[in-house]
Symmetry: C2
Subunit: 298 residues, 2 copies
């Protein structure tokens, strides 16, 4: 029993969910933050949130934005609706490779499978090949499919490490249009100090570091200049905004909620003050997490 | 020759591009703005922009945002990079239906095909059916595929009107989670007063109305509060912002460009002043178009 608990908690043996198949960039993100973790693949982002909320997983690692493709809308919606908190972030370099079956040649490839965003990121290379592109759920899943089919005229766009996982060969590397392509992920845990189903605390055994970045979400009242008023609260205190993102409310067309990444910890005095003031102006203000900025790949 | 020209220009016989297959919501958007238009389907958004820029099409109708799914990132990127101008907007109600082959029964459906966003918008209904969902390029394309396959255990999520186009039956109507689901489209034309390949002017023969909405794009310098400073220029003049959207610059990770919809015409004095001031603070300011607000479906 003690052993079972140890397997589920802490950076060593934590159960950490990611969306996709083994070999996905998300799995790499998990292993960067939790080198010894039990990385658990899921089919959808929602499954990660549900498993973390229910305590079946200690953490989840979910993509927030890609430096080319922009924000991942589903993640932002799940963060606003969920009972999880952001406890960390991690940035992964996204170098796409063209993977084919052993012996395949790049000039014989006719069909290329991958996630739509990966296909877009490699559009110049793929246009040069003159191939048909087939959208799939994720990059590693595309690699798996190409390996299972075994056809030399099919290839996948995926991480180079997916070649090792599925027994494929790298036909071309770093085929993305912008060489400096990165994805930023959030590390999520159950909100509050609740315990996981295994009886282990839902916060990392070894904290990920002192929080110096905070993500919040709020709505604005229906008056001209409302958003400016909300943002000025931060500008007035010299608090830098790393990111602003808007998402529709869904049930009210053309109304939005706003997500801000503020470069300060939620307990730092200027941000504590700012949040107090914002609560009087904004609607539905929530702190989604306060966590240490990622200090690996910038 | 005179006849050929008449076929290509004006709200009557204009060539208007949309992405998707006949029966798509985008085709409906085209016909709402240009009732007698020659609606031209394309496979990608990029093809519409290229055809409009080259003068092969008089107009394009491209989706900007959905009230549930949010902004369509590809369109925003193409608007920033393109040589087109927004001359109008149009809002379409998006009521999704489940379409099957004649005689199919909803309880026998095992696989449902559609665009990923349509599948997400109907997630509660589809979860209740317990079916496998298959992502495809677009809703009408999914309907076409179901019709061609002819299998009674396959269905598509698409507009009800796609049933008529492909000889399918409506198995269930208005299956989206949020009943009030809408998509807003931009009407684009070639920028400036250039002429189309057919010799016809690139602006509508009958103007779409007096501009009272303007879309701009700009970057911000790297100083705290830069975005607030840009937005205050509008707030100070009582100019309402209908929407703010951020998109990554791509070649510079974690830097963004911002898109604003301002509720005023670009020639209205307060906005002319605001744009003059913004040009001194922002980087790469461009007016993407000034056009009449859509007064059909709100």
């Amino acid at each position: 029993m003690a052993r079972k608990q140890r397997e589920r908690v802490g950076p060593g043996g934590a159960g950490v969910g990611y969306q996709g198949e083994p070999g996905a960039f998300s799995e790499e993100a998990v292993l960067l933050v939790f080198p010894g973790a039990r990385a658990e693949p899921t089919r959808t982002f929602r499954e990660i949130f549900e498993a973390v909320e229910a305590g079946r997983l200690d953490f989840g690692v979910v993509p927030l934005e890609n430096s080319q493709g922009g924000s991942i809308a589903d993640t932002y919606d799940l963060l606003a609706n969920g009972a999880v908190t952001i406890v960390g972030e991690v940035v992964v370099r996204v170098d796409h490779a063209l993977l084919g079956v052993p012996g395949a040649r790049v000039q014989d490839v006719r069909r290329v499978l991958s996630h739509p965003q990966a296909l877009t990121q490699c559009d110049e290379f793929l246009a040069g090949l003159g191939v048909e592109v087939i959208p799939m759920y994720d990059t590693a899943g595309a690699a798996k499919h190409v390996a299972e089919d075994g056809r030399p005229d099919q290839a996948a766009v995926a991480a180079e490490r997916a070649a090792g996982v599925y027994g494929l060969e790298v036909l071309a590397r770093r085929i993305q249009t912008h060489p400096d392509n990165r994805t930023r992920f959030a590390v999520i845990a159950r909100a509050g100090d609740a315990e996981t189903a295994s009886g282990a605390p839902a916060v990392p055994a070894r904290p990920l570091g002192k929080p110096d970045k905070t993500t919040i979400v709020f709505g604005t009242p229906h008056v001209p200049g409302a958003l400016v008023r909300c943002l000025s609260i931060f500008a007035f205190r010299g608090l830098n905004l790393a990111k602003i993102e808007s998402r529709p409310l869904g049930d009210r067309p053309w109304e939005y909620r706003f997500y801000l990444d503020v470069e300060a910890g939620a307990d730092d005095e200027p941000l504590r003050e700012a949040l107090g003031e914002l609560a009087r102006v904004a609607t539905d203000l929530r702190v989604l997490g306060s966590y240490p900025r990622w200090r690996g790949v910038p």
